[in-house]
Structure formats: C-alpha cells, structure tokens
C-alpha cells in the first residue's frame, strides 16, 4: 500500500467510525463535509508536500475522537429514559423487579416445601424479572418519547400563568396531594398479583391433605398461553401508578390517565375472561374427589356464576369505585387547588 492509499484508507476508517455515531437524514452529508474538512486541514498543514502519517494523526487529534465529533453534531440529546425521569424510573424498577423476584423466590421456597420444586420453575425467576424490567422500561421510554410534548404544553401553560401578575397557582392543599407510598404500594400489589397469575398460577388451587392431590382453580395451560395479554393488563396499572408518582396530586391530567388506564384494563380483563377458558371447568367435581367429600352445597350449581359473573362483577365494581373516587377527588380538591 503506497502512502497516498494509506492516507485515504485511514480517512475512510475515521469517517466510518464517525458515521457510526451519527444519526438522522444528514448523516451522509456530514460525512462528506468532514472529508472535505480533513482535506483542507491536511493541505493547510502540508503546504504542497505530500501528507505523511504524522500529519494525519495531528489532524485527527485536532478533530477529536470520532464519537465526540459525532456528538457535536447530534445536538439534541436522545435518551431512552432521560435524566429527568431517571430517578423515578430507577425507583419504580427497584420496586417492581424486587417484588417480582421476591414473590418468585417465595413461590420456589413453597414448592420446595410442597415437594414440587423443579429447576425449570427456578428459571422462571429470571424470566419474570426480565418481563417486569421490560414492561417498566417500555412504559418509561414511551413517557420519555411523548413526555416532550406533554411538558411543552405544561410549561407553556405555566408561562401564561406567570406573566408577572401574581397568578401562580397556590400550593395544592393536603387532600389534593397523593403520598408517594400510595403508588408504590399499588405497584407492589399489582406486581405480586401479576406474577402469581402469570408465572405461578398453580398456587391458586386446593391442596388436599393426605394424598388427595391438588386441584387447580385455573386452566394453567390457557393462562400460560396468554401471558402477553396479562402483561398488557399489568402495563395499564404500571402506567397509572407511575403517572401518580410523577404527578403527586389530583389533577385533570391524572384523572384522564386514570380513566383511560382503568377503561383499558377493564376491557382487557373482560376480553380475556370472555374469550379464553381461563377457569378450570372441572374444578367442582375434581374438588369433591380430592377433598373426599360427596357434596359441597351450591359449588357445582354456582361455579359458572362465581367465575363468570361474580368475579368480573367484583373486578369491574372495584375499578369503577377507584375511578369515581379519583374523579371526585380531582373535581373537589384538585380543581380547587389549581385555581388561580
């Protein structure tokens, strides 16, 4: 390789590294421009003689590391989860992943006691933690991505309020504030619940003493087959609780997010329970056999009512109460403390 070729090759290598860190439409154009800059810088150094390796090294040193040079072009900082959200993200992640790992360790301990432990289940700890991590991260990434516009609206509003005429909103009264513990507890419980449901549905069941065996309330194969739907359900709760954590008080925004999340979660749950045979249809008869009794009044007759109507009814009722309470609190305390 002669000198000229060597110089060209090294420039190509440098530009390739720069381009790896560049993003956006102008990537090729920037690369082309830096190439012409390197040419100009070499010319200025060499004043007519042929550039040597040392000249090129000096030029590269002046331009800086490829990643640093590229960073100067990528002026808008791009994050999956930015510095503003990061502390909250880490907290939520600790709680959710911690709870899920905790629940899964406990469930494995139980399985050791009951003699049903297997290393396959043990591996589910990792899978569960990874799913929790993914759900939380995706939600925060979405907030980050969408957050810019939400913040713009909010800050725009703040500017309008603060036009120097003492119109800043008052500090929210105590009742309009939501303590941090509330969303954290919410996250813990929904984490435990979704974990048990998705990764250890076998614990919802009846163990007969002696060698009567075990009867599952759910059809485990069906539950395992729709893990994704349950995780989506979980995501609606996580979104709501994270928003609660960020907002810290009842506001119209928070009310809207709550309504949307709750409606989405109810629709999902109703869809899941109406579409898939989640429940073990043979539970009543298997239960009687396992428990070694001849009759359990009303169980057989009411099994469908219990699982389909009552269960969904309670769930919908609970969600409706929560939604209404949020709406009322927002309208009574939230709006009042937003007045200005």
């Amino acid at each position: 390789m002669d000198n000229q070729q060597f110089i060209k090759d090294q420039i190509d290598r440098y530009l390739y590294q720069v381009s790896r860190y560049l993003s956006g439409r102008n990537k090729d154009d920037i690369e082309k421009e830096i190439r012409s800059l390197i040419d100009d810088m070499l010319d200025a150094r060499c004043q007519g003689r042929e550039p040597a390796k040392e000249d090129l090294e000096a030029v590269f040193a002046e331009l800086g590391r490829p990643s640093e040079l590229a960073a100067k072009y990528n002026d808008s900082k791009r994050y999956l989860v930015g510095p503003d959200l990061f502390p909250i993200y880490i907290n939520v992640l600790k709680v959710v992943v911690g709870v899920i790992i905790g629940a899964s360790v406990i469930s494995n301990l139980i399985s050791i006691v009951t003699g049903t432990f297997s290393w396959m289940n043990f591996g589910s700890i990792f899978g569960a933690a990874l799913s929790a991590f993914a759900v939380v991260t995706i939600i925060f990434a979405l907030i980050e991505w969408k957050g810019i516009s939400v913040d713009d609206i909010f800050e725009g509003k703040m500017d309008e309020i603060f036009d120097g005429k003492m119109k800043l909103p008052p500090v929210p009264e105590k009742k309009a504030r939501i303590p941090k513990s509330e969303p954290i507890v919410g996250l813990i419980f929904s984490g435990i619940f979704v974990f048990l449901f998705v990764f250890a549905p076998q614990y919802f069941g009846f163990w007969a003493s002696g060698n009567g065996g075990y009867v599952s309330v759910f059809d485990i194969a069906v539950i395992k087959s729709i893990t994704g739907l349950f995780l989506m359900c979980f995501a609606t709760t996580v979104i709501k609780e994270i928003f609660k954590l960020i907002e810290g008080r009842f506001t119209i925004r928070f009310m809207i997010v709550t309504i949307l999340c709750n409606v989405a979660s109810v629709i999902l749950i109703v869809y899941i329970f109406r579409t898939y045979p989640i429940w073990n249809q043979n539970f009543p008869s298997q239960f009687l056999t396992a428990a070694n009794i001849t009759d359990f009044p009303g169980l057989q007759a009411n099994w469908t009512f219990l699982t389909e109507t009552l269960f969904l009814g309670i769930l919908i009722f609970g969600t409706a109460v929560e939604t209404l309470s949020c709406i009322v609190k927002t309208l009574v305390y939230g709006i009042r403390s937003q007045e200005y």
């Binding site: 082309k32 421009e33 100009d40 200025a44 331009l63 100067k72």
Partner: protein
Amino acid sequence: MLISEVREMNEKEEILANLIPELRRGTVVLSVLSQLTEPVYGYSLVQELSAKGMEIEANTLYPLLRRLEKQGLVMSQWETTSNKPRKYYMRNVKGTIVYEELKKQWTDIIGIVNALLGEDKQNG
C-alpha cells in the same frame, strides 16, 4: 514557593479554564454570523477568524454551521465544480435580521459591562 501556594495557583487556573470559554461561548455565534455576508466554506472561515484573533476549532464551527442552517439563519450549497468539493454557507435574510439584533444586544452589553468595570477602577 510553598506547596499550598502552588496548589492555590493551580486551582485558580482551573477555575479560569472553565470561566474563560464560558465567557467566550456566547460570542461565537455572533462572530460567525458576522463573517457570512458572502458564501464561505467551513475551513476558510476557521482560518479567517483565526487570522482576526478569534480562535474557533473546526470541530466546533462545522456543527455550529449546521445548527444555524437548521435554524434557518444560513443557507448552504455544495460547490463541486473544482476538484475539491466544499460546502459553502451564507447568511440569509432571517440570518441578517437575527445578526443585526444580536449586534445591537452586544453593543449594549459592552457598554453596560465596561461601565461596571470602569466603576470598579474608580473605586479601586
């Protein structure tokens, strides 16, 4: 010289090393805009500014030119007729309006700061 004195001097230098670029930073855009009355390419601008005492490194100027273009203050065009293709930049109308306004601000700032510094001299 005592070690503590050396340390104190180093510390002062370090603080200055942070403050001086900060002081200069705001003047870079104004300086660059001032030179873009006719089409110039990046490296010639680096040399031109350097000859006039304004040292701006190429790896700062080139991204800056792109940012100004993105903000709609300058326009650019590749000149490919010579054997060295180069991208030329020039202030447009919007750029000139912004430049004139910045210039006015700059003159005001100089006046105010110089007055403050002069006051300091009188007192001292």
